[in-house]
């Protein structure tokens, strides 16, 4: 990985979902990759075809997993909370968790497993520190209802929301090196507040982190 710490991540938009494109950009050719919550396998198919990666996936939705398998991809039906423990240490170069961290049962344990089975982790999640969320909570006194956080509190799958800063603190606490971070808008377009984490925490709808196991 030619990226210096804290250096913003470059992206080139092509046909793939933009946030996946950003993630694909971070992964070098021939890498061993595990994509947790891989959906129908868009990212792993791209990595396999374009980068000669050994890319595999886990997907909790059976219909999506079946589509991925029917496309010849190495995808298993499973979930982040239960299945990561079964992989050996350092089995992958990159473990990807895209827009899922906030929905898992034990995010800290999932992160720990990711950086046990992979040397790098790429994590994206919706930023609960976004100004609209702060404003809605302050002005209405009700749970925020935005494009990203669009389900009522009693049925949202996003049971562990956090802010960009919260995530930074957890990485610090658990000893993960942050090799890069990026705030993006809902469509995965890079946000311009990349020089200040506090501004990113206020204006970034989604956060994307590249982590590395220290030592």
């Amino acid at each position: 990985m030619g990226m210096k710490p804290k250096e913003p991540i470059r992206y080139v938009a092509k046909n793939m979902r933009l946030d996946l494109r950003l993630i694909a950009e971070m992964i070098p050719d021939g890498a061993r990759v595990l994509d947790i919550g891989c959906g129908d396998g868009e990212l792993i198919e791209h990595l396999t075809r374009e980068k000669g990666a050994d890319a595999r996936g886990i997907e909790i939705d059976m219909a999506e997993a079946t589509r991925a398998v029917a496309a010849g991809l190495a995808v298993i039906h499973g979930d982040a909370d239960a299945d990561l423990a079964h992989y050996p240490d350092a089995a992958f170069d990159y473990v990807v968790l895209s827009r899922t961290l906030q929905a898992v049962e034990r995010p800290r344990e999932v992160l720990r497993q990711m950086l046990r089975i992979g040397t790098h982790a790429i994590v994206s999640f919706p930023n609960f520190g976004h100004w609209q969320i702060r404003w809605k909570l302050l002005s209405t006194g009700r749970m925020p209802d935005t494009d990203t956080w669009n389900r009522p509190w009693y049925e949202t799958p996003n049971i562990h929301p956090c802010t960009l800063l919260d995530f930074m603190v957890l990485c610090e606490q658990d000893g993960y090196a942050v090799d890069g971070w990026l705030a993006v808008d809902e469509h995965g377009r890079r946000a311009p507040w990349r020089r200040s984490i506090r501004l990113a925490n206020l204006f970034g709808e989604q956060a994307l982190f590249l982590l590395r196991r220290k030592g």
């Binding site: 398998v69 496309a71 010849g72």
Partner: protein, 387 residues
Amino acid sequence: MLRAMNEVVPLPAVDHQRAVFQDGLMLDCGMTIAPLAVAYRTYGTLNEARSNAVLVCHALTGDQYVAETQPVTGRPGWWSNLVGPGLPVDTDRFFVICANVLGGCMGSTGPREEMTDAEGRGVGRPWGIDFPSVTIRDMVRAQKRLVEHLGIERLLAVVGGSMGGMQALQWAATYPEAVFACAPIATASYHSAQNIAFHEVGRAAIHADPDWCGGAYWKEGRLPAQGLSVARMVAHITYLSESALTRKFGRRLQGAKAVTFLEDVFAVESYLRHQGSTFIRRFDANSYLTITRAMDYFDLAADCGGDLSLAFKGTKTRFFVASFSSDWLFPTEESRAITRALNRAAARVSFIELKSDKGHDAFLLDEPEFHAALGGFLRGSAEAAGV
């Protein structure tokens, strides 16, 4: 085939295509059986590089006639909905091999075939109950001989459901270099206590049939039809699910509108009796005993100190594991355990549970999602192998 046998076994004498290996096969039980005959069928054309061979392994009562009319029953091949030109196991693209298992009764060395002595000479009577115990690994070793005989060093894929899935797993564990891709379907890495128990009920029914004659029914000119039929009826229940039985039969009566308490027959009874009575016309009772035992013995992890992942350590084989949601004979948890063991071995594995209410039998039926997934897995494997 012995003339005497043809008189007692109601299977028509069929000249099965087979490969015979004079040096025989050393079995897990320590005995060598010689010569070894492997009856088989092939479909499609082996390419010049000999790299497009797909071995299909059959289940307990299956046979090598996977994609053509079964010569004894006249019914279509048991996986003819899956194996054929343009089908998921595409015979336009792949060279498909299917062999009758060791211990079977469709031409491979088994209890119905002529017994041989230590020197490999025929002794003029069938093996019958004297046929040695065989294991899933013995079956796989016999298939390996056939595959080598056909000049194939590496199989593109080994595919099988139920006991066929056990063989597929055993292939990948025993001959990892010879298996590029492996698809164990609706199976398990060991036979569970419940499954052994059901098998034992079937065997007990055969043993208790006076016509079984201690296994020498061929000598007495008799056939343990009742016992074998009951064994099939019990087994057939385990292949279905409660919801499938309810949907198909419910509490309907055969030929009556309401219960009269006079010899009423529920539709489900009639169906099971039919299953039992047709089975005895195509299967040998001693074969049934031999093969159910082989399944019961199967425990892949036991060969590796109880850790299944060690059976696949360092494997380069890619796997497709699939289960069916209503299969209680080989429940999804067993497939998930295989998947997790493969994950522990860092193997390349796909796993899905297919939604179906048809029970274990679903792997034989028209399940479009299953067919699409298996087809995709094989196409992906062929692409990766450069076929």
